[in-house]
């Protein structure tokens, strides 16, 4: 099987890269283990305040609308963070105002949404809060199994009964200015959060829950659908295990599922993520990149990988695959001619790309530019 580009990693970075290349008429394949950082996506691109035109187009065509307004975001534990470019159902506060009133609605027996923390955070800003717990017979089935009352399972039910639920919420509203709901709406039907917002008599703010993230899973699904519509080959549940490299060029890669077949391509993109996604692995002595054995930035002494304070910036999180300026990955100090690295396999933060979701998208687009530019040359 021969492609123009084979991408290792099916998360935000790999999909962005794949969609952009397919749009440019290149044939691509994505190898995805099935689990990636979109599953705990906050819904915001931390390091961005506006979408580069290309990114807005790319997401818009996939059915994902992005927005940004100055203000703050309400975080799940009741803290505030500056607004950032976000999915449309992530709301911003222009700044909570003293004297405003908020209604926080959750579900009985649901422990992954922190109404009390949210109320505390808002009340400190002078917003009066009231918490209501919905008791829905439709969730009874989930309640029977003690580990089923989780965001995604609830969202599946909500996709069916959201109109009824909105009716119940409407009946609860008194004179509140803000209604706060958990992000358990619109798992498959992206229009649901928007329609909820339109049908309630106050400003609706969706606030995150414990992972898995419903907006994140929806984003993954929409991007993947878009990628496949453009003719991309998405190999789910597979894993790159080895590569054939000759004189600084990757010829093909070996995957777990494709036994004796190799995936050949002109270009390869390593978008395999950080430690969580296993793009980076570690043993007591080294941090390493498992597929190609690329050079990874790291402190020599293990004790220097960590900061003893949990909340402090952790050195290990910044470690990643070394590249040249054109994002060619380095192996034994030399750039691989047709292997690019993008996303958090580069480390959680890169000054030029930001961090998290912002890093994923921006470095993916930079790699695409590089591939197209090299081809043109």
């Amino acid at each position: 099987m021969k492609f123009n580009t084979v991408i290792i990693g099916g998360g935000l970075c790999g999909l962005t890269c794949g969609i952009a290349l397919q749009k440019a008429g290149r044939s691509t394949a994505i190898i995805s283990t099935g689990q990636n950082a979109l599953h705990f996506f906050s819904g915001s691109f931390e390091s961005l305040t506006e979408a580069p035109a290309r990114m807005a187009d790319l997401f818009g065509e996939a059915g994902i609308r992005l927005h940004y307004r100055e203000g703050v975001r309400l975080m799940p534990l009741g803290t505030f963070r500056p607004a950032a470019l976000s999915l449309e159902d992530i709301s911003f506060f222009p700044k909570p105002k003293i004297g405003e009133k908020a209604l926080i609605v959750s579900f009985k027996r649901y422990h992954d949404f922190f109404a009390a923390f949210l109320a505390d955070g808002l009340e400190k800003q002078g917003v009066a809060c009231r918490i209501e717990w919905l008791d829905l017979p439709e969730l009874e089935q989930l309640e029977k199994s003690p580990s089923e009352m989780r965001s995604v399972q609830i969202a599946r039910t909500m996709d069916r009964i959201w109109e009824k639920v909105v009716g119940e919420i409407r009946a609860l509203v008194q004179d509140e200015d803000i209604i706060i709901l958990p992000q358990v709406f619109g798992l498959k039907d992206t229009s649901v959060p928007i329609r909820i917002r339109e049908s309630l008599p106050a400003q609706v703010v969706f606030v995150g829950t414990l992972p898995p993230s419903v907006p994140g899973i929806r984003t993954q699904m929409l991007l993947k659908r878009r990628y496949e519509l453009l003719g991309g080959t998405y190999l789910t549940g597979d894993e790159a295990t080895d590569a054939h490299v000759h004189e600084g060029r990757v010829h093909s890669i070996v995957t777990k599922n494709l036994d004796n077949h190799f995936l050949e391509a002109d270009n390869f993109v390593l978008a395999s993520g950080g430690f969580f996604s296993k793009g980076l692995k570690s043993n007591p002595f080294h941090i390493f990149e498992p597929v190609f054995g690329l050079d990874v930035e790291q402190a020599e002494n293990r004790s220097d990988w960590y900061h003893p304070q949990f909340m402090h910036d952790q050195p290990y999180m910044a470690y990643g695959v070394k590249t040249d300026a054109a994002l060619h990955a380095l192996r034994e100090g030399a750039p691989m001619q047709n292997l690019y690295a993008a996303g958090s396999v580069l480390g959680a933060t890169r000054p030029e790309f930001g961090s998290g979701a912002g890093l994923a998208v921006r470095s993916a687009l930079a790699v695409v530019d590089q591939i197209l530019k090299t081809e043109a040359e």
Partner: protein, 531 residues
């Protein structure tokens, strides 16, 4: 009578203090226990959780060995829900001297320990994780004991006998009338409130911190803080305790406990100032892994969950400053006869295993001072939760068809699990999925077992002790704490404290899946949840 007056005040909420309070309370005394932090925060919660058969001490310290096997039998009957009856092996590896086995078995038999030499082949079948190269094996009645559960059950029973408990309260000084100690000055570390309490007898059961408590009273107890480091592996690879059949050395005991297993330990003298901040060094980690893999080779590829260290409260006999004549036996000091200071007793030394005996000795001393003649009944009266021996039987008695989580609760709480039964699904929702801890069990720990922080909850219920190390359960449980205390801000800050406490044990072994989990947790808390 003043509400702050008692018959006896016990300082220290480890197993010795909790056991002493229970014994005193059962003999009819009005008791108060004061603990600076939470229950089981010192050496009590920082050891192997090994129910010694005594075999380890048989050759060098027969007296301790006899104490151990006696208490071993007693704990099996009075603390069934805290005990894991696994049995243990003392294995001889090719590098060890097989001749030692004979000395060992003879010493065990002399101490009354049932030690049986078994064929290495049988040992391999009984314990598939054992190093298959072993050339000798002895089977002994070792087991596992959950020190948190044991401590909580003792304290609960003391309370059921009218005892009072003040956690997170520090003793700041003693109140003296001439040559007699009549009370303690304290400060609540959460609220800052200072309060005095009075009693004719005060028991110093502060473990290694007992040294400092004695100094507050102006007497000196010569102690020798010996740090021991241990590693928790993420799987229960062995079902029997595995020991090396040789003279006791570093990292030669592997104990299964709940869902994990624990290798240890080391022994290093440390200064008193470091007792609060002991950390595991990279050298200790390497030693523990290397030696552990000799007993169970699979450990070299098993994920490590945590590293931790405790400080043994060893006592230098005769105030020997060099620590040469260290005793591991029980030390009960009556400061009246020893130092001319009336009203103060120090109980120290000993082991988790012998806590009940220590409590009995201390309580006997208290009763002598108070001229009370009442026999000790702790050797025959089961702890709350241990009225029934098999957790499965317990679960079946409470629930018609117990779920996994209910069985887990019964295994942790014994018959006390009946307390969390409700007809509602409300209490059955899981807070901690790794350890199957339900809402009901968390609420019970808050209401009946004095848990006020997430870390307190961990000690009582195992939340956050599983493979995810508190990733999700911390937030969920903080929600329940906030509901109970009404103090939302404090509980939110408590999440950061809890995660810090988990991280402390993770980063010394921060590679492989542990680092993977840590990256996920740190990202989620900072960037997704907004801590």
């Amino acid at each position: 009578m003043d509400k702050n007056e008692y018959d006896v005040i016990i300082v220290g909420g480890g197993i010795t203090g909790a056991g002493t309070q229970r014994d005193c309370a059962m003999r009819g005394l009005r008791t108060l226990l004061i603990e600076r932090s939470d229950i089981a925060t010192g050496a009590t919660g920082r050891n192997h959780g090994l129910l010694h058969s005594g075999a380890r001490y048989a050759v060098n310290d027969p007296e301790s060995a006899e104490e151990c096997i006696r208490e071993n039998r007693i704990l099996r009957s009075i603390a069934a829900h805290c005990i894991d009856e696994t049995d243990g092996l003392f294995i001889t590896l090719p590098e060890d001297d097989l001749a030692y086995q004979k000395t060992f078995v003879e010493a065990c038999r002399k101490a009354g320990i049932d030690a049986e030499i078994i064929d290495p082949d049988l040992a391999r079948r009984l314990e598939p994780a054992v190093n298959p190269d072993l050339i000798g094996a002895v089977r002994v009645p070792d087991g596992g004991v959950d020190p948190f559960r044991l401590c909580a059950a003792n304290m609960l029973d003391a309370k059921l006998h009218g005892g009072q408990v003040r956690l997170h309260t520090e003793v700041t000084g003693f109140i003296r009338h001439g040559d007699t100690v009549v009370g303690v000055r304290t400060r609540n570390l959460t609220t800052g409130v200072a309060e005095d309490f009075y009693a004719p007898v005060i028991v110093n059961a502060g473990g290694i911190w007992g040294h400092g408590i004695a100094e507050l009273a102006g007497v000196h107890v010569g102690m020798y803080p010996a740090k021991g480091a241990l590693l928790v592996f993420a799987h229960r690879v062995n079902n029997m305790v595995i020991n090396r059949c040789r003279k006791p050395a570093n990292a030669d005991i592997l104990v299964p406990g709940d869902t994990v297993c624990i290798i240890g330990t080391t022994s290093t003298r440390i200064p008193f100032e470091e007792c609060d901040t002991v950390a595991v060094t990279p050298e200790e980690v390497t030693l523990l892994i290397t030696e552990g893999a000799k007993m169970a080779p699979v450990l070299s590829s098993t994920r490590i969950l945590r590293a931790y260290a405790g400080v043994r409260p060893l006592v230098s006999a005769d105030d020997d400053p060099t620590g040469r004549n260290i005793s591991r036996g029980i030390v009960c000091l009556d400061h009246e006869t020893r130092d001319g200071l009336k009203g103060l007793i120090t109980i120290t030394g000993g082991k988790l295993m012998t806590y009940r005996l220590m409590a009995e000795i201390a309580t006997d001393a208290v009763c002598r001072k108070l001229h009370i003649d009442k026999a000790c009944e702790t050797a025959t009266t089961p702890l709350p939760g241990s009225e029934e021996r098999s957790y499965e039987a317990v679960a079946r008695k409470i629930w018609e068809a117990p779920s996994m989580a209910q069985k887990a609760a019964a295994a942790r709480m014994g018959t006390s699990a009946a307390r969390i039964q409700t007809g509602d699904h409300l209490d059955e929702a899981l807070i901690c999925e790794c350890e199957e801890v339900s809402v009901g069990e968390v609420n019970d720990a808050i209401e009946r077992l004095d848990a006020t922080t997430l870390t307190d909850l961990r000690r009582r219920t195992r939340i956050g002790m599983g493979t995810c190390q508190g990733e999700f359960c911390a937030c969920r449980a903080a929600g329940l704490l906030a509901k109970a205390s009404g103090c939302v801000e404090r509980e939110r800050n408590g999440i950061a404290d809890f995660m810090q406490e988990r991280w402390k044990g993770n980063f010394p072994i921060g590679w492989g899946d542990t680092l993977r989990e840590a990256e996920y947790t740190q990202w989620v808390y900072k960037h997704v949840l907004g801590l």
